[in-house]
C-alpha cells in the first residue's frame, strides 16, 4: 500500500503545471506501463511433444552422421602424411636432436652449401665443369690428390699455368684466395670433401682436424701459389685422423657423435 509520506521521494519528472500531489494520488497514473502489465504465471506443464522428440531424433542421426564422417577422429596416422614429421632420434625417444648421419653424406651436403656460398660455382660451375673462367674440378687430379695442395689452392689461390686433367690452363689473374669466403675449418673440411667426392671424383674425407692443420699451414706464406710451388712443397696429405665414410656424425658440428664435446 502506498505511503503518502514518501511524496518528496516520488518526484515525478513531469511538467511544472502538474500538481505533484494530485499526480501522486493517482498512483497508478505515475506508472501506467507498470500498472497495465500482466503478472507472470507459473509455467504450464505440457509434456514434451512426441513430434519434437521424433524430429530431434532425426536431427541427432544427421549430426551423428556428420560426426561419423570424420572417420577415426583421433587417428593421427590417418590424417597426417607419412614422413611429415621426423622419426625419433637413434639416441632414444624424447631426445629431439637432428638425427646424425654417415660422415661422407653429411660432409658432402655441407660442402655443397659452402660451394654455393663461397661463389665457387660462379667460375667452376655447379657441375664442376669449369669453363672460361676456371679449370674443371671434375676428374681433376688436384682435387683428388694431395689434400695439402688442394687446401692451399683454396686458401691462397693459384696463378700462372696449371695442368688439370691433361689440359693446360693459364687464366689472367688466376684464382683468388677463397679463405674469407670459406670461413672456418669446418667449412673448409666440408668444401674439400665435397670437391673430392662429387662429379665422379673419388676421394677421401677431409676431417676438421685436417682442415685446421691446413689453416695453420696457410699462415706460413701469403699471396697466390703457383703450380710448381704446390708440386714442390705441398704434395702431401694433411695430418689428421682419418674419418671413415660411414661414421655417424652430428649434422651441425660435423663431429662424430661419440666424440667428446669441444
Amino acid at each position: 500500500m502506498s505511503d503518502h509520506s514518501s511524496t518528496s521521494e516520488m518526484r515525478p519528472d513531469l511538467d511544472e503545471n502538474i500538481n505533484v500531489a494530485q499526480a501522486h494520488e493517482a498512483l497508478s497514473g505515475d506508472t501506467p506501463a507498470a500498472s497495465r502489465e500482466k503478472r507472470l504465471l507459473e509455467n504450464g506443464m505440457e509434456p514434451v511433444s512426441l513430434w519434437l522428440i521424433f524430429i530431434s531424433a532425426i536431427v541427432v542421426l544427421v549430426g551423428g552422421a556428420v560426426l561419423g564422417q570424420g572417420g577415426n577422429l583421433f587417428g593421427y596416422s590417418e590424417v597426417v602424411k607419412a614422413g611429415y614429421l621426423r622419426e625419433d632420434s637413434p639416441l632414444g625417444p624424447g631426445e629431439a636432436v637432428i638425427p646424425p648421419g654417415p660422415a661422407l653424406e653429411l660432409y658432402v651436403k655441407a660442402g655443397q652449401k659452402v660451394y654455393a656460398a663461397a661463389a665457387c660455382a660462379g667460375c667452376h660451375q655447379p657441375t664442376g665443369a669449369g669453363g672460361a673462367a676456371a679449370p674443371p674440378l671434375a676428374g681433376s687430379e688436384w682435387a683428388m690428390g694431395s689434400t695439402a695442395a688442394l687446401s692451399q689452392i683454396i686458401l691462397h689461390g693459384v696463378t700462372g699455368p696449371i695442368t688439370v686433367a691433361g689440359k693446360e690452363y693459364n687464366f689472367a689473374g688466376g684464382m683468388q684466395s677463397m679463405e674469407q669466403g670459406v670461413g672456418g675449418a669446418k667449412n673448409l673440411a666440408a668444401l674439400m670433401t665435397y670437391v673430392r667426392n662429387s662429379w665422379g671424383n673419388q676421394g677421401s674425407i677431409v676431417s676438421i682436424e685436417m682442415a685446421k692443420n691446413a689453416l695453420e699451414l696457410a699462415k706460413g706464406r701469403s699471396g697466390q701459389t703457383t703450380a710448381q710451388e704446390l708440386k714442390a712443397s705441398y704434395d702431401t696429405m694433411l695430418e689428421g685422423a682419418e674419418l671413415a665414410p660411414d661414421t655417424l656424425v652430428d649434422p651441425k658440428t660435423l663431429l662424430p657423435i661419440d666424440a667428446p664435446a669441444e
Binding site: 513531469l14 497514473g29 497495465r36 503478472r39 504465471l41 504450464g44 511433444s49 549430426g63 560426426l67
Partner: protein, 495 residues
Amino acid sequence: MSETPSTTDIHDIELRSSIDRSLRHPVMFFFASGSIWLVLGILLGFIASAKKHAPEFLDCISWIDAGKVDAAHLSALVYGWGCQAAFGMIIWLMARLTRKECTASGIILVAGHLWNLIIMVGIVTILAGQGSGVTLMAFPSYIWVSLLVVYLMITLWSLVQFQVRDAGHVYVSQWYLLAGLLWFPWILGSAIFFVFASEGHPLMAAAVAAWFKSGVFLLFLLPTALASAYYLAPKVTGRPVYSYNVALFGFWALAFLGPWAGFQRLMGAPIPQFLPYAGAAAMVLILIPALAVGLNILKTIQDQKELAAQSPSLRFTTSGIVLFIIFGVLSFGLNTVPAIKMTQFSYTGYGLDILAIYGVFSLCAFGAIYFIVPRVTRREWLSSRFITWHFFLSLYAVASIVCCAIIGGIIQGQGMEDLSQPFGTMAERSSSYGWGITIAWAFLLVANFVFCLHLLLMWARLGRRSSHPTLLQNHHPESPHGPEGEIDNIGSVNA
C-alpha cells in the same frame, strides 16, 4: 494451471516502478549507446560489404580499407551493440524477475561509460591498422582484460540479485540469464588467455578464436534473447509459458551443444581432427533447442495473433524466435560435410552470422527495448509509424542478406570447386549477390537510423505522456484501454 491474468495489486505496481526507477540510468544508457553503435556498425557493414564486390569504393580513404572495416564492422555490431543491448536487458530482466531493486546503478553506469570508451578506443585502433587480426577479437591485445573487468562490474550485481531473491519460483528466463552471465566470462577469459596471453601454438589460438566467435552468439547473446522472449511472451499475453518440460529440454540442449560449436569454420585446418567435426555436429544439432524454444514460445502466444501483431515488443520477439527456428534449420542444412565443403570460404558463413546477430538476437533485443523503455522512462513511444518502418525494413533487409549470402555463397563454392574455371568467373557470377547484400545493408541502415532516432528522443524524455502504449495496427479509434488521455487523467483508466 492458468488463472485469470492481470490481477495487479498496488504493491506489485510500486515494486515494478521502483525497480524501473532504480535502473533507469544504466538501462537507458546501454540501449541508447548500443543503438548508436548499431547504426555505426551497420554503416561500417555497408562499406565492408561494398568493398567485397567493388573494392574501389571509397578506396581513397585508407582507414576504411577492406580488412579493417570488416573487423571494425563486426566488432561494433557485437561489442558495441550486441553486448550493450544484452547488458541492458540482463540487468533489467534479472532485477524484475528477482523483484529486487538495483543498488549498484552508479557503478553500472560508470562501467557502461568505460565499456563505451574501451570499444571506441578499440575500433579506432582497428581502423588505424593496429588491430590484432583475430576474427571477432580484433581489438589490440591489451584491451581485452579491461573488457572482462568492466563486464564483471556490470553483471556481478545481477548474480547477487539472483542469490538474494525471495524464495519461490525460478523463471525460465532466469535460467538463461544465469547461464549467459556465467558463460560469457568463461569464453572471454579463455579466449583472452589462449589467444593473447599465453605462448601456445598459433593454431590453437586460431581454434580458440573460432570457438569464441561462435560462443559469443550461442552462449551469451542467444541466451539473453531467449530470456527476453521467455519473459515477454507470457508477460504481454498474460498466459503461462506453454511447457516447463520443453523449456527444460531446450535449455539443456543449448547448454550441451553450445560449447562444442565453432570449430567447424576451421574444417581442414591442421588442428586436431575431432574439433571441426564436433563443431559441425553441434551446429547441426542446434536445430533441437531452436525447435524446442520456438515451439514453447509460439505455443504460448497461439490464439493471440492480434496481440502479437499489435504489440511491438511481442511482434519483434516473435519474429526473432521464428528467425531462430530458421537459423536452426539453415544451420542443420549448411553444416553437413558436403555443405561445408562447398561454402566454407564464401558469403554463407557471414550470412548465418548476420542472421544470428541481427535476425535472432537483435530482433529479440528490439522487442525487449520496446517493452522496457516506456517503463523506465515513463513515456510511451512517439510514433507507431517509426516502429513499423523499423520492423519491416529490418525484416526484409535481414531476409535479403541471408538469402543473398547463402545462395551467393553456394554459387561461390561451386565456382571455387570447379577447377576448370578461373577464379574471376566465380567472382563475377557471385558479385550480384554481393550487391544484394550491400543494398540490404543500406535498408538496414535506414531502419536502425529511424530506431536510433526514436530511442534517443525517448532518452531525452520527449516520449508521449500517455496512459496507454503505442501499438501497431491501431485500427480502432477506441483503444481497448479506454479513451486516450494525458498522464494526469488516469482516474478513468482501469488497469
